[in-house]
Symmetry: C2
Subunit: 177 residues, 2 copies
DNA sequence: CATTTTACTTTGGTCGGCCAAGTAATGAGG
DNA sequence: CCTCATTACTTGGCCGACCAAAGTAAAATG
C-alpha cells in the first residue's frame, strides 16, 4: 500500500504533452527572479533603517532634488501617481517627508525631505552600495558594463511597448558607464 | 530636459551637497525598472486571458507537471508559501485550479490544473512569446545569450546572499545551452 | 507509548503596485 | 461670466509579495 507518490494525472492534468522545461527558456523569468531576489536583498539591507523597499528610491529623489512638486516627483520616478501618493502618506507619517500646498497652484503640493530624514542619507547610500556589491558580486567590470548596457536596451524596448499601450512616458535613462 | 528645478531648496532640502545623479549609477535600479516595465507589459498581454501577472507562471508549472503536492510547487516557483496559498485560492475560485487533500499525507494537498484551464495553455504560450519578443526587441542573438548569462550570474550571487540571510533555498537554475 | 521536533499549509498584517473613478483647482473658449 | 477640457492629486479596490505566527499532522526521539 503505502500509496506512494502522487496519483497519476487523474482528471485533467496533461493538457499538453510537453515533457518539461517550458519555464527556463525565456529571459523574462530570469528578470522576474532576479528582481524578486534583489527586492528581498534590498529589504534585508534596509530593514535596520526602518525603510521598506521602494521608499529609499523616493527618498533619494527627494534628498537629491530638494522641495519638488509632487507631479515632478511622479514623473521622475516613473511610478503610478496613486502609488506615490500612498508611499508619501506613509513616509509623512513616519516623519521622513513633509508636504505643504503649493502657493502658486492650490491643487499641487510640494514635497520635501525632513531634517530628521537627512540622517538616513548616508546610511541609505551605504546600504545601496552594499546591495550593489551583493548584486554584482562575481561580475568583472566589463560584465557589469555590458549588463548595464543590455538592461538599458531592454528598458527602452519595453518602454516603447508600454507607451504604445497607452501609459505615460518613460524616461529613457541613461547611458553612461 | 525634464524640467529644470522648480523652486530652490527652501527648508531642509540639501542634507547632502550632492548635485545630482545619485540615481542612475547602480545597476540595481535598472533591474527594478526593467522588472516593473516587464510586469506592466505582462499584465497587458495577459489581461485578455483573464489572468493577472504572476498567475501564468503558476499555471505553467501546473500544466507542465500535472498534479503536484503544493509544497513541491512552492519549491519549484521559489515564492513565499503564503503567496502561493493565496494565489491558489484565487485561481481555484476562478476555476483554473483544483485542490484536493493528499491521501498519503493528510496535511498536504495536491494541486492540479482544471480542464477548463487547458484552453488557456496555448494562449499563455503565445502571450509569453509576445512578451519575450517585446522584451528582447532590439537585441541580437549574441546579446540575448549574454544577457541570459549575466542574469544567471546575478541571480546566483543574490541567491547566495539571500540564503545567507536566513531564507529558504534558491534553485540555482543554471540552464545553459 | 508520550513527547518533542519537524514538515505543510493557512491566516493576519503590511507594503508596493496597478487600474479606474472621483474631486478640486487651473486655464482656454464662447 | 460661464462652460469645458486639462491638470494634480486622492480614494477604493484588487493582486502580488513579504514576514510572522498559528494550527495541524506526520515523523523522530525518549
Amino acid at each position: 500500500m503505502t500509496a506512494e507518490s502522487v496519483q497519476e494525472p487523474h482528471a485533467a492534468a496533461q493538457c499538453a504533452a510537453v515533457p518539461g522545461a517550458v519555464l527556463d527558456g525565456p529571459v523574462s523569468h530570469a528578470i522576474s527572479r532576479v528582481a524578486r531576489l534583489h527586492r528581498i536583498a534590498a529589504g534585508r539591507v534596509l530593514r535596520d533603517l526602518g525603510l521598506h523597499p521602494g521608499q529609499e528610491f523616493l527618498m533619494m529623489h527627494l534628498w537629491d532634488s530638494g522641495a519638488v512638486r509632487q507631479s515632478e516627483l511622479i514623473k521622475a520616478v516613473g511610478l503610478d501617481p496613486s502609488t506615490v501618493t500612498k508611499m508619501l502618506q506613509r513616509l509623512e507619517q513616519s516623519g521622513h517627508v513633509r508636504r505643504r500646498p503649493d502657493p502658486a497652484d492650490r491643487r499641487a503640493s510640494l514635497v520635501e525631505a525632513t531634517d530628521a530624514s537627512c540622517g538616513l542619507l548616508v546610511e541609505v547610500r551605504r546600504a545601496w552600495g552594499e546591495l550593489e556589491r551583493q548584486t554584482l558580486d562575481g561580475l568583472d567590470a566589463a560584465e557589469r558594463a555590458e549588463l548595464t548596457r543590455l538592461l538599458g536596451k531592454v528598458e527602452s524596448a519595453l518602454c516603447t511597448e508600454v507607451i504604445r499601450g497607452g501609459a505615460a512616458e518613460c524616461d529613457a535613462a541613461g547611458t553612461a558607464e
